[in-house]
């Protein structure tokens, strides 16, 4: 750590603390939130230490208090939150008693933070270069004259190509991964001693995740910084952290070296979390906690899935979107004709595949590869540009999307959506949501009949029937997912498209939902098209995999074969990017 001249005298933080002393020591920290129903303890008696140059992972599911811990360290809890007990000692200074102006000075200069959504963390109407300059000037790191050069250097360090040009870019002109790099540049601009990364790669593609995480680790190591990585992904924590802290319901349940926590998890919760994390070499049933296995061992579906013949055939399917271009009247009349290929953007570029009865097919690719567009076309929610969609002999591609809702075929193709919260009408009870397709397309006799069928469906998906009269905001994420699944299977469809049905769920809930989906498929004989970016999840549920990139299919085959012997570089790259806990 080189001594640097500091133009602004900050708080008395020792820059060169002795090695024996941890950089950050959180002792017995308790944070309370004042809510309408009295005070709620978000975290209780949390003890965490971060040594110099160490990378600490805090792992837990939603509601475990991992983010609250980091907010308390940074003292950026919202108004209702209060540090009730304990101390946070950073380089010998107790942050719980530091003044607000001292904290402002420390934040950004000595400790900084990367948030989950990079786009939200950047000011949308300010050039990214300027935003980096703002931080540098705020903490008086450099003079007014050199600040521009410094900002460009920072962009260069976070591997943004053509930094001089990108200095003038606005956040919306950059991809999600690029935005996260800019946020990292912002966080590291003042050479802080501690970096807190709160789910820095959630929402990014696996390959981007790998690039961003590699960058963070490399930069922090280079500068001898300490960092805290907050994540729900055990694999990610294992791959990038020295030590891991596991939190559950506001308490630290286990702290250990990264290697030991995965080889010998001591606490029951850690073991449960480990089990539930999809990883190579395990089957779907292994994800469930011991003693919670399904009553009937499900037959391995690979021998049944080809029995029924082809259900869905897609041939040379294309979806084009017009590129939005502002062309003035003058140019339109007298200007040169724009080149034809610029006119449209092909989201799906001539793909062909088929799905057999009772088969589940995975559609994998990174964001923007056209997998969602494909599933929307198959669902007949949007119209295709050209190509053929043949479902059980009928050319459903020819029926306009807006008329499809009313025809009989509608009930044979259903979907489970990505976000269970977003896909339920906030004004409908669970029962009403499940009943909707029955009322519209089913032939139920009367209200009692509908009610009875709702109850039966709820039992099928494992939703306690007394929850049927609740509204979505009164249900947990897993329960909402079950309602969405019950709605999709209400009419006993032949084909169900699963659009990342577990992306918004915790791993333990994901394990249960994936098992439920497998059980339902076995008992109802449906076919699944499983759309996902996560190859580890696809591996568990699918017989065949289709890998898409830029609107085209790059690889297709049996799941086992594609995952063990990928034929293309792209699939290999996708597989390598997945962080794995050490086996």
């Amino acid at each position: 750590m080189a001594k640097r001249t500091r133009t602004k005298t900050g708080v008395g933080v020792a820059r060169d603390v002795p090695v024996s002393m941890p950089l950050l020591e959180v002792r017995d920290l308790t944070v309370e939130f004042a809510t309408r129903r009295g005070t709620v303890r978000a975290i209780e008696h949390v003890n965490v230490t971060v040594g110099k140059g160490e990378t600490l992972g805090i792992v837990g599911e939603s509601g475990s208090g991992k983010s609250v811990t980091s907010f308390a360290v940074m003292r950026i809890l919202d108004r209702a939150g209060r540090i009730a007990k304990g101390s946070v000692v950073f380089s010998g200074v107790d942050l719980t008693t530091a003044s607000d102006s001292d904290m402002r000075d420390l934040r950004g200069r000595e400790m900084s933070m990367i948030f989950q959504n990079p786009r939200a963390a950047l000011n949308p109407i300010r050039k990214i270069g300027r935003q980096i300059e703002d931080v540098l000037l705020q903490h008086a790191q450099v003079g007014n004259r050199d600040v521009g050069e410094h900002a460009i250097q920072m962009l260069e360090q976070v591997r943004i190509a053509r930094p001089r040009e990108r200095y003038h870019a606005y956040p919306f002109e950059l991809s999600g991964g690029m935005c996260q790099r800019v946020v990292i540049a912002l966080a590291l601009a003042c050479r802080p001693q501690l970096l807190i990364a709160d789910e820095p790669t959630t929402g990014l593609d696996v390959t981007t995740q790998k690039a961003v995480m590699d960058l963070v680790v490399e930069l922090t190591r280079e500068r001898g910084m300490s960092s805290i990585l907050i994540t729900h992904d055990l694999g990610l924590a294992a791959a990038y952290c020295n030590r891991v802290v596991v939190m559950e319901k506001g308490r630290v349940v286990e702290t250990a070296q990264a290697e030991t926590i995965f080889s010998k998890p001591a606490h029951a919760y850690t073991r449960k979390l480990m089990r539930a994390t999809p990883r190579p070499g395990v089957s779907l049933r292994d994800l469930l906690p011991e003693g919670d296995r399904p009553r009937v061992p499900a037959p391995k579906s690979s021998d049944t899935h080809r029995a029924g013949g082809t259900l869905l055939t897609v041939e040379k399917l294309v979806k084009e979107y017009p590129r939005k271009r502002e062309v003035g009247l003058f140019t339109r009349m007298f200007g040169p004709k724009p080149p034809i290929e610029e006119e449209v953007f092909r989201a799906v570029d001539g793909i062909s595949f088929s799905i057999n009865r009772g088969e589940s097919v995975g559609l994998v690719g990174e964001s923007g590869c056209g997998k969602s567009t494909t599933s929307m076309m198959l669902m007949r929610l949007i119209d295709k540009s050209s190509g053929l969609i043949r479902f059980d002999g009928d050319d459903i591609g020819e029926i306009p999307a807006r008329d499809f809702a009313k025809i009989a075929l509608r009930k044979r193709i259903q979907m489970v959506f990505q976000d269970p919260t977003d896909s339920l009408n906030p004004r409908y009870t669970a029962a009403r949501a499940i009943a909707d397709p029955i009322l519209r397309l089913g032939e139920a006799a009367d209200r009692d009949d509908v009610r009875a069928r709702c109850k039966e469906l709820a039992r099928r998906v494992g939703l306690p029937t007394e929850l049927l009269d609740r509204f979505p905001h009164q249900l947990s994420g897993g329960q909402k997912a079950r309602v969405g699944i019950a709605r999709a299977i209400a009419l006993k469809p032949d084909l169900v498209v699963l659009d990342e049905p577990t992306a918004a769920l915790d791993v333990s809930v994901q394990a249960v939902v994936l098992n439920l989906l497998q059980d339902l498929k076995d008992s109802l004989g449906m076919s699944y098209l499983f759309v996902s970016h996560d190859l580890n999840v696809v591996r568990l549920l699918c017989d065949r995999v289709i890998v898409m990139r830029a609107g085209q299919i790059v690889e297709e085959g049996e799941t086992k074969q594609v995952l063990s012997e990928p034929q293309t570089d792209y699939t290999r790259e996708l597989l390598n990017a997945i962080p794995h806990p050490p086996v």
């Binding site: 309408r36 929610l381 809702a405 009313k406 339920l424 519209r440 397309l441 009164q474 999709a488």
Partner: protein, 284 residues
């Protein structure tokens, strides 16, 4: 059942956090009561003139005094509540139906629907709104119906904008797609799935424009358009009393003006309160 309970609990919380909302709600109940029963409980006939008792200051017999024709101002203010209320409510209902539906349709369908509705509301907003209302009443004739119509027309863009924005953000929401998969046609999705979600925010808009509608109706009457004397109406009464303020008979204009102010005030406060009530940010 549990939803009704939770709404009640939430309402109690909002009122206890901001007592003014409770006050506004109480005032609203009072105004509604007077509007319903005013004509049966007033001490004097609002239309009966008494040449022996003209221009009397407030007293125990005539609480708000009397006007140039000796009519009891308290009775007239009370009775006028119903007419002003009816005008405001019917115009708000009218604009809620027209603007709300047009707005939802334009936000949901986009394209040409959006363009046509958008240009209509742009055209309306191109005029000074009160002048437009004057013009409509002057052109169509001096009747209560036309005041209602004019008030509705000038509020149209406000409703369109709120409904359009709210419908637009929900257009591609998961639950809307799910509704399509369940076999709901486009109009059914609009009415059964999107509309209920927009209702709360529209109710806030209703309350906020109620005050404005009352003010507008009174304003039209004040300048001689709309309700004709001797019908008791706050705007006319203020107009009638305006000339007398300079000669010292302040009570003729003051009390109807005060009633007007309180009514508008009440609806604005109620709107703020309702906004807190339906704002999901405050539901923790």
């Amino acid at each position: 059942m549990s939803e009704a309970n939770s709404v009640l609990r939430h309402a109690r919380y909002v009122i206890s956090e901001n007592p003014i909302t409770g006050f506004a709600f109480a005032m609203f109940l009072l105004i509604a009561f007077v509007a319903l029963f005013g004509p049966y409980i007033v001490p004097h006939d609002p239309l009966a003139s008494d040449t022996a008792a003209t221009l009397q200051p407030p007293s125990l017999k005539h609480w708000f005094g009397t006007d140039q024709l000796g009519r009891d101002i308290f009775s007239r203010v009370m009775v006028a509540t119903r007419l002003d209320f009816v005008i405001a409510i019917s115009s708000v209902i009218l604009v809620f139906a027209m603007g709300g539906l047009a707005g939802i349709a334009s936000g949901f369908f986009g394209g040409w629907t959006d363009r046509i509705v958008g240009r209509i509301s742009d055209t309306i907003m191109a005029f000074p709104l009160f002048v437009l209302a004057m013009g409509i009443v002057a052109a169509l004739g001096n009747t209560v119906t036309n005041i209602v119509l004019a008030t509705a027309v000038i509020n149209f863009p406000l409703y369109v904008r709120v409904a359009r924005a709210e419908a637009n953000v929900r257009r591609e929401a998961g639950f809307v797609q799910a509704a399509r998969l369940s076999g709901n046609g486009e109009f059914r999705v609009l009415l059964m799935h999107i509309l209920p979600n927009i209702m709360p925010i529209m109710m806030v808009q209703v309350s906020l424009t109620m005050g404005y509608a009352i003010l507008n109706a009174a304003g039209l009457s004040f300048i001689g358009l709309g309700v004709r004397p001797p019908t008791p109406e706050w705007g006319i009464m203020v107009a009638e009393g305006a000339g007398n303020i300079i000669s010292g008979e302040w009570w003729i204009a003051l009390f109807p003006g005060l009633a007007l102010m309180l009514a508008v005030f009440c609806f604005n406060l109620l709107g703020d309160g309702l906004r807190d009530l339906v704002d999901p940010q405050r539901r923790t």
